[in-house]
């Protein structure tokens, strides 16, 4: 009796231990066997796009009866932590989404397989974004540009003309001044230290740069880059924008949606958000970004990439290419969530929200600048936040903060090339 109990107990322990280890076994590769059935895994992070992705996958499997695709969603917050661990263990999805800041990290470590892309089909900055050492590793999926969103009601109330494509920096400053109304808690513009949405754009408009084309040197000590930063800190110091502390407590996007901000530089992706909110549904619109020395906007887009160490790279590459096809882009466009990267398929997105002048986002592509990245972008992105918040909160001058940032960033870039 006792021995049996003992044996049972031991069995439970053994099973528990075995259970711990069995989790690491591959789940995706069930190849061979009958008829070469192949299941591809497709890793994405946006659950709003799952229906479109599934539709595209089933369109692909129609022509490839032996292949099935399983879409795996991981929330963005944990997407890259999980993906990195999976890639380290050789278990990453066969095809997955990647963004600019993370791309070179994966490409430079041999995680990605080269793919065939017809560059003429997509805006050039997007094709270039997913090139590393002259090789193409990603198929452009979608893109976003930044526009000047404004609240028409606040403009009407302050009797200010709506922004146009001819606006310059001075026009923004003048309008922000007129629109600011401390008694009502209304500010002319939201000026948080956000790279993609704010200061990258103005840095490029001023003729500056964030990182040198060879990826070895920071641009933050360049006077023109500093001018691009100063555009924002001046707005904060003049109190035409909420203070750094206020914007930490309540996000500028929330203030804009609550009708407390008259202008906000923000992405094309917010069209969906504004159209859903009853406050902004019909009272906001968008214009092209005002020009500094020249016109510029940051363009960024996701890419579909193939895991080089997966079990079915041939099928995976075929799927990635299909994801970059016109057929796939049309399916994406019809759902209205993002702007597809494939040239000529973007009109459906513009028409999904007729109340806004979304064509501006597409017109901006002609002078768009690619999102600045390097091999380990996350490191100096962190330094940007650390150092530039000091300039924004006024505890350091812009020049000082930018110099410190350049020094730290150069150090990080030197480490990358080792």
């Amino acid at each position: 009796m006792r021995n049996r109990l003992l044996a049972l107990g031991l069995a439970i322990v053994v099973a528990a231990v075995a259970g711990c280890s069995s989790g690491t076994q591959s789940s995706s590769s069930q190849s061979s066997g009958q008829g070469e059935k192949v299941t591809l895994t497709y890793g994405i992070w946006d659950k709003n796009q799952v229906p479109a992705m599934k539709k595209i996958a089933s369109a692909f499997t129609e022509s490839q009866p032996n292949v099935s695709v399983s879409v795996q969603v991981t929330p963005f917050d944990s997407y890259f932590t999980k993906l990195q661990a999976a890639a380290t263990g050789g278990q990453a999805p066969d095809v997955f989404w990647l963004n600019g800041p993370n791309f070179q990290l994966y490409a430079s470590n041999g995680v990605l397989q080269e793919v065939k892309v017809d560059a003429a089909n997509y805006p050039a900055p997007l094709v270039n974004l997913y090139q590393f050492n002259g090789k193409q590793y990603g198929v452009p999926k979608d893109f976003d540009t930044i526009g000047l969103w404004y609240n028409k009601k606040l403009f009407d109330a302050a009797k200010v003309d709506y922004p146009t494509a001819d606006w310059k920096w001075a026009d923004v400053q003048a309008a922000a001044k007129k629109l600011t109304d401390p008694d009502k808690g209304v500010f002319g513009i939201g000026a948080p230290p956000a790279g993609q949405e704010n200061f990258y754009n103005t840095v490029f408009q001023a003729g500056g740069f964030v990182i040198s084309p060879d990826g070895k040197r920071s641009g933050y000590d360049d006077p023109k880059t500093i001018a691009g930063l100063k555009f924002w800190t001046d707005l904060v110091q003049a109190h035409y924008s909420p203070s750094m502390q206020q914007m930490t407590d309540t996000l500028p996007l929330q203030m804009f949606e609550a009708g407390k901000l008259a202008m906000l530089y923000s992405g094309s992706w917010n069209a969906t958000e504004f159209a859903k909110n009853t406050n902004t549904k019909n009272s906001v619109d968008v214009a092209q970004l005002p020009a500094g020395d020249k016109k510029a906007t940051v363009i960024h887009g996701l890419g579909n990439v193939v895991f080089a160490k997966g079990p079915h790279t041939a099928e995976a590459a075929a799927f990635a290419e299909f994801l970059g096809s016109k057929q796939a882009a049309d399916i994406q466009a019809s759902t209205g969530t993002v702007i597809p990267a494939f040239n000529g398929t973007q009109q459906a997105w513009v028409q999904a929200f007729p109340q806004y002048h979304l064509q501006n986002f597409l017109d901006e592509v002609s002078y768009a600048v690619p999102f600045p990245i390097s091999k380990n972008t996350a490191v100096w992105n962190g330094y940007e936040t650390d150092e530039l918040t000091k300039a924004w909160s006024g505890s350091e001058s812009v020049e000082q903060a930018a110099q410190n940032l350049a020094a730290k960033m150069n150090e990080a870039l030197a480490k990358e090339s080792k």
Binding site: L6, L10, T88, Q246, T248, S395
Partner: protein
């Protein structure tokens, strides 16, 4: 096989003399049998401990001497991480911030003690309701606690500033003002551990025999005198235990800072704790070797502080 086992069981139960006899007869077998049982019961915990704590700790120690690439490729780099650690002003600031969190966290102990003393009086109305209320923050998820407090602390829309405005005080942006952010987060830390400390202290209070108080009362000691001369000395072992745990907990502060402060907060440099820095280096900047060195530096500090406390306890802790 079967028979003998059951026999052993019976013999064991019949009395000490006979157990001794069994031992004399088959010492090896009896011991082996017991050892097996002991292992069976300790086994799962021991395996868990070894796999999820001891092995990772040893690996972390090893990794602190390596430099990592993003995808698990690492190479031996000797003491380089530790050399950089000593020069890094970010690390120094993080330790200073953590130190302040720890000091402020200790304020929670006297508060817990007073509450425990008040809520230990039997027969007061609603005592158990108050006990539940005080303990509630302990069973609430830290992330949820942090989000609620972020609302309370909000500069423009928070209830704290709303109430302060009623009495004519202009509140600040508590969590993004570099001067107030650390105390504000520490206050939430205290608030959420008071219940836990209180329960342990109440258990300690109940172990103090009533006759000490009777004797003290006969000698003319009032409630305050009784508290200072009877309660505190007799409770000192429990107080010591609570202090050690509180200090270790504070030295590992992470979740509240992570949720309440966040990445783009201008007050982050003034509130970034050691564990937050570890997280940032390991999981945002992919510098795992350096992060491991930070984790080990923290372990060393915790060991030193705790050893120091054990030294100090000889001065103030009375064991009956």
């Amino acid at each position: 096989m079967h028979g003998t086992t059951e026999q052993t069981g019976v013999l064991q139960r019949t009395g000490a003399g006979q157990v001794a006899e069994v031992r004399r007869r088959r010492p090896g077998r009896f011991r082996r049998q017991n050892l097996l049982w002991a292992l069976l019961f300790i086994g799962p915990t021991a395996v868990g401990l070894a796999v999820f704590y001891i092995w990772p700790a040893l690996r972390t120690f090893y990794f602190s001497f390596t430099t990592w690439g993003a995808f698990g490729n690492y190479e031996w780099s000797g003491l380089a991480n530790y050399q950089e650690l000593l020069k890094d002003s970010e690390v120094r600031t993080a330790f200073v911030n953590t130190f302040w969190f720890t000091i402020l966290g200790l304020l929670g102990i006297p508060i817990s003690l007073v509450l425990a003393a008040m809520l230990s009086r039997r027969g007061r109305k609603g005592v158990s309701a108050y006990r539940t209320l005080m303990f509630l923050p302990v069973v609430t998820m830290p992330a949820a606690v942090a989000i609620i407090w972020r609302w309370l602390y909000s500069g423009d829309y928070g209830i704290i500033n709303f109430l302060l405005a009623k009495i004519g005080i202009q509140g600040t942006y508590w969590l993004s003002n570099p001067q107030t952010a650390l105390p504000a987060v520490a206050a939430v830390g205290i608030w959420s551990t008071i219940g836990y400390n209180m329960v342990i202290l109440m258990a300690g209070l109940q172990a103090i025999p009533g006759f000490y108080y009777e004797a003290a009362a006969l000698d003319g000691a009032g409630p305050v005198r009784q508290f200072l001369s009877v309660t505190i000395p007799l409770l000192s072992p429990t107080l010591f235990f609570v202090t050690v745990l509180s200090v270790i907990g504070s030295l590992q502060t992470f979740d509240l800072v992570y949720v309440m402060i966040g990445r783009t907060n201008p007050a982050l440099p003034q509130t970034r704790t050691v564990v937050y820095l570890f997280y940032q280096k390991a999981f945002i900047e992919n510098d795992r070797g350096y992060a491991a060195a930070i984790a080990f530096a923290l372990l060393v500090v915790i060991i030193i502080v705790t050893a120091f406390q054990f030294r100090l306890q000889r001065r103030w802790v009375h064991y009956e």
